[in-house]
């Protein structure tokens, strides 16, 4: 296993990463990346075990609810960050798809399991590399005026393929070791070159990553950014310019019928991981709203209680759906456990539908001090401290506690990270339209219709209704 220091050194591998218009040669020492690298390094240290054969539990592919829970419990023993999260999700997606891809070519299945062993043995972090540039959204990949709008095979030799294209919104790409490239959607006959899934090292020749990050700018006080100041992660715009991929790292190569299998698996696992957080997030929102009401002395007002109750119902439904997703989990042919896609998508959809209102309530409870309370360095300044402490402290909270509360709510819901969090909460794992499609596909509509038919039968009109095309 790698230590944090070894991890940091491993990123100095000649990768072509850019941020704010400049080349980044050492992410661990870049002012807007070093916090993310430091955190990833702490994650390495938190799991480090020098014994030969030791490995991070993220590489466990669970085959039962018990194993799934055990994996989660083991993961909870260490720290976590984006790179660990994406590694787990993308490997689970590969493993979930392996049996089906194995039916196409047995070597795909073998390569996937070999690859999982490889990253496990070397303690590597992997990025989920899915969304293409897409060009004109209405046109198929092979109809675009630039064939590179979707990543595709542009050349091949007896050893491997060359790929070209770009992938967007790749969380943590420039802090990872491996890019796991998957087709963004289903492909059709004629689009074989676009049905490519493979793994590419981040420093492979031809890979360029242009980052953005919600990491705070400049010399900031971490107390003003209690979450984003210590837990940020770059998003990569990843370009592949004739990148060579050896066949042992190619998991799908031209079988258009199966192009969507991997993205579907990935979306499922990404949403599933999200659902577990969704339930905790929802409870935290209830708590924040309640504390803000107390901080502003409005907790006893009927309209405040009314809206807290609304939040409580929301949080309870999130928890219920998250639990139902595991209760209705299924197994793949190889025995890998997967959460119920219906409940996972329903929760993702429900949460996104409600989130605008959830944030409105929290902001209404807090008022504008959420965004315009003085910052911590103002509070520390002896010329201001006494006056600010007096003006900001209200029973039962001290001025410090109120500032902490406002800083947290601003950082997570009304600042750069809050914006990132709101948008990715909606879009990660597919937007609302995609969730509706999955839910419709997974829902037992026939059973529902049977229930409805009973209504017709009870009225003695089953035959008539059927004949009229009503059922």
């Amino acid at each position: 296993m790698m230590t944090g220091e070894q991890y940091k050194a491993s990123l100095r591998d000649g990768r072509r990463t850019y941020l704010d218009g400049e080349r980044v040669t050492d992410p661990a020492n870049h002012p807007r990346l070093k916090v993310a690298v430091e955190r990833a390094a702490r994650v390495y240290d938190s799991f480090y075990d020098p014994r030969p054969g030791a490995f991070n539990p993220v590489y466990i592919m669970p085959k039962s609810v018990e194993e799934y829970e055990e994996r989660r419990a083991l993961l909870r023993k260490g720290e976590t960050d984006m790179t660990l999260g994406t590694t787990g999700v993308v490997l689970l997606a590969l493993a979930t798809s392996a049996p089906e891809l194995g039916h196409l070519k047995p070597e795909y299945r073998e390569r996937i399991y070999d690859y999982i062993e490889f990253v496990k043995a070397n303690d590597l972090r992997c990025a989920e590399v899915v969304t293409d540039a897409k060009g004109h959204r209405k046109l198929r990949p092979n109809q675009q005026d630039d064939p590179d709008f979707y990543v595709h095979v542009v050349d091949r030799t007896s050893e491997g393929v060359y790929i070209t294209g770009a992938k967007m919104h790749i969380s943590g790409a420039s802090l990872d070791h491996e890019l796991v490239v998957l087709p963004t959607k289903a492909m059709r006959p004629g689009e074989e070159a676009y049905a490519i899934a493979c793994a590419v090292p981040v420093n492979a020749p031809g890979v360029t990553i242009i980052d953005t990050t919600y990491a705070p700018y400049g010399d900031y006080d971490p107390r003003d950014y209690p979450v984003s100041g210590s837990r940020n992660c770059p998003e990569g715009f990843v370009v592949f310019d004739r990148v060579f991929v050896p066949y042992e790292r190619v998991f799908l190569d031209g079988e258009t019928s199966h192009a969507a299998v991997l993205a579907h698996s990935l979306g499922l696992w990404e949403r599933a991981e999200g659902t577990l957080h969704a339930a905790d997030d929802a409870d935290r929102m209830v708590g924040l709203a309640a504390l803000l009401a107390e901080a502003n002395g409005t907790a006893d007002q009927p309209h405040v209680k009314d809206r807290l109750a609304w939040l409580v119902v929301y949080a309870t439904m999130c928890r219920a759906a998250a639990e139902a997703a595991m209760l209705h989990a299924r197994k793949t042919e190889d025995g890998l456990l997967t959460p119920s896609p219906l409940y996972v998508s329903a929760l993702k959809y429900y949460r996104s539908e409600m989130m605008a209102k959830v944030l409105d309530i929290v902001h209404d409870m807090g008022g504008s001090l959420i965004v315009n309370a003085p910052r911590w360095r103002d509070f520390d300044n002896p010329e201001l401290h006494t006056a600010l402490a007096k003006a900001l402290g209200t029973e039962p909270l001290t001025a410090e506690e109120r500032l902490q509360l406002f800083s947290y709510v601003r950082d997570t819901t009304a600042d750069a990270y809050g914006g990132w969090s709101y948008v990715t909460g909606q879009l990660a794992g597919g937007g609302q339209h995609a969730q509706r499609l999955v839910a419709m596909r997974q829902y037992d509509l026939e059973r529902a219709k049977d229930l409805a038919r009973k209504v017709l039968k009870s009225a003695g009109r089953a035959e008539e209704g059927s004949a009229a095309g009503l059922v």
Partner: protein, 448 residues
């Protein structure tokens, strides 16, 4: 009237005022990197007015057409122009009982003749501001006010009670004008000005940020000629009432503008993506179109139903202003969610203008951000940057919360609408339709 130039304005605020930002003392607001862009915005308004045309700050609207014209000006102008215009409306209180009208009028005359900018200090921080001592020369006030827009870069702070003060707290019933550089005034600045070295990544906030200030009054002496309310609790609520009318009016006018802008961004992006007719996109756009139309309708109804004050100033209808805010803000987050949904995650992850300029990455950005003939990578990048800055970044978060808070937050806006709604007329309509008032028919006598 003396028309100040932008440069003269800059000079005038270099007066030793006690300003702080992130704990550091700000020596010169016109040079501080995070405050200078706001100073430049205010200076631009000065220069624009000096170039000619009606000065909407000091000349209140006399007709419905003028009300719209004034708002169009104030939406373009910086926040201090708007707060000064709101302050100028306090002339309406010159004859109000309990108000020192002559002093107030004289102050407002000076603001106008010297072309000053005023920030209105209304919302209380902690217990707000109170009179701690009186002397033959004036009063001494202490306390704090929050969310005072532009306090650090105006000339005068107009301190007023945040609402009607209870009769037993007359020391809090104080309205007074305080020079920003008065002894004992300390101003803490919070600003959305971009911290990035290259502000091009923030197309809106680099030009439309204004210090949102927390103002501390520590034993500040105010001479009598600057004290407009001194202990009269009955009159204490009137100042915030008048100022609130104009703050909410501008917010409602902005609601109509902003809703159209949000729709325009969504429509532009889906056309750039080539999918303006996808059914799920049409579904979202239609919701946004209804929202934008209703916000505009609400603001226009506020003008249509405007009322005239005894002095002839036209005020927008309070009912329609509140209803526009309540409706528009209630749906704002949902509509922004639709905007994000149709735009996709490039809203967050579109690299910066500096990356676009960098030779090593320029080609890739132009190649992969473009979508079709006529839609360049540059065009899309600029759109994504605006959407992020306006709705999903530092400025967007601040603006969302602040706009939502105007008029008492979503709950307050709704309750005010309910209070103002013509309930009697609605009840009469209900009775009419139910025919409640028709004569009750005579029942036939019951037989046993």
């Amino acid at each position: 009237m003396h028309m100040r130039s932008g440069e003269s304005y800059r000079q005038s605020i270099r007066d030793g005022r006690a300003l702080y930002l992130e704990g550091e003392r700000v020596a010169d607001p016109t040079e501080h990197p995070l405050i200078k862009p706001s100073v430049d915005w205010v200076a631009a308004t000065y220069d624009r007015l000096a170039a000619g045309g009606r000065n909407w700050i000091f000349e209140p609207p006399r007709s419905q057409g003028e009300l719209q014209a004034q708002m169009t000006f104030l939406l373009e102008a910086d926040d201090t122009a708007a707060s000064t215009a709101g302050c100028a409306m306090l002339r309406e209180l010159a004859d109000a009982p309990g108000v020192h009208g002559a002093r107030l009028t004289s102050f407002l005359d000076r603001v106008r003749s010297e072309d000053l900018r005023v920030a209105n200090a209304v919302l209380d921080a902690g217990e707000g501001v109170r009179i701690v001592r009186r002397s033959p020369e004036g009063v001494v006030i202490s306390g704090a006010k929050r969310h005072v827009m532009g306090a650090s870069i105006v000339h005068e702070l107009l301190v007023v009670p945040s609402g009607k003060v209870p009769a037993d707290q007359s020391e809090r019933a104080v309205a007074a004008a305080v020079g920003v550089n008065a002894k004992g005034v300390r101003i803490v600045n919070v600003t959305t000005t971009p911290r990035a070295q290259d502000a091009r990544h923030f197309p809106l906030s680099q030009v439309r940020s204004m210090p949102d200030c927390f103002v501390v009054f520590d034993e500040v002496f105010v001479p009598w000629e600057r004290v407009f309310l001194d202990g009269d609790t009955e009159a204490s609520g009137r100042f915030a009432e008048v100022l609130g009318v104009w703050e909410r009016a501008r917010a409602a006018a902005w609601m109509a503008e902003e809703a159209e802008l949000v729709f325009g961004l969504a429509q532009t992006i889906v056309e750039m993506n080539g999918v303006p007719n996808a059914s799920h996109i049409l579904d979202k756009l239609s919701h946004m179109a209804v929202w934008a139309t209703m916000c505009r309708a609400g603001w226009e109804a506020a003008i249509d139903n405007a009322v005239k004050t005894p002095s002839g100033t036209v005020l927008p209808s309070a009912l329609h202003v509140y209803a526009t805010l309540a409706y528009g803000r209630n749906h704002y987050n949902e509509m922004v969610g639709y905007l994000h949904d149709v735009s996709g995650a490039l809203v967050l992850t579109c690299p910066s203008v500096a990356d676009y300029d960098n030779e090593a990455t320029h080609h890739y950005m132009e190649k992969y951000l473009r979508t079709m003939k006529g839609v360049t990578g540059w065009d899309r990048m600029k759109m994504f940057h605006l959407i992020r800055d306006m709705t999903a970044d530092h400025y967007g978060g601040w603006a969302k919360v602040v706009q939502q808070s105007i008029g008492g937050g979503l709950h307050g806006q709704r309750m005010a609408t309910l209070r103002l709604y013509p309930k009697e007329a609605a009840k009469a309509k209900a009775r009419l339709f139910a025919r409640v008032d028709e004569r009750q028919p005579q029942r036939p006598p019951t037989t046993t």
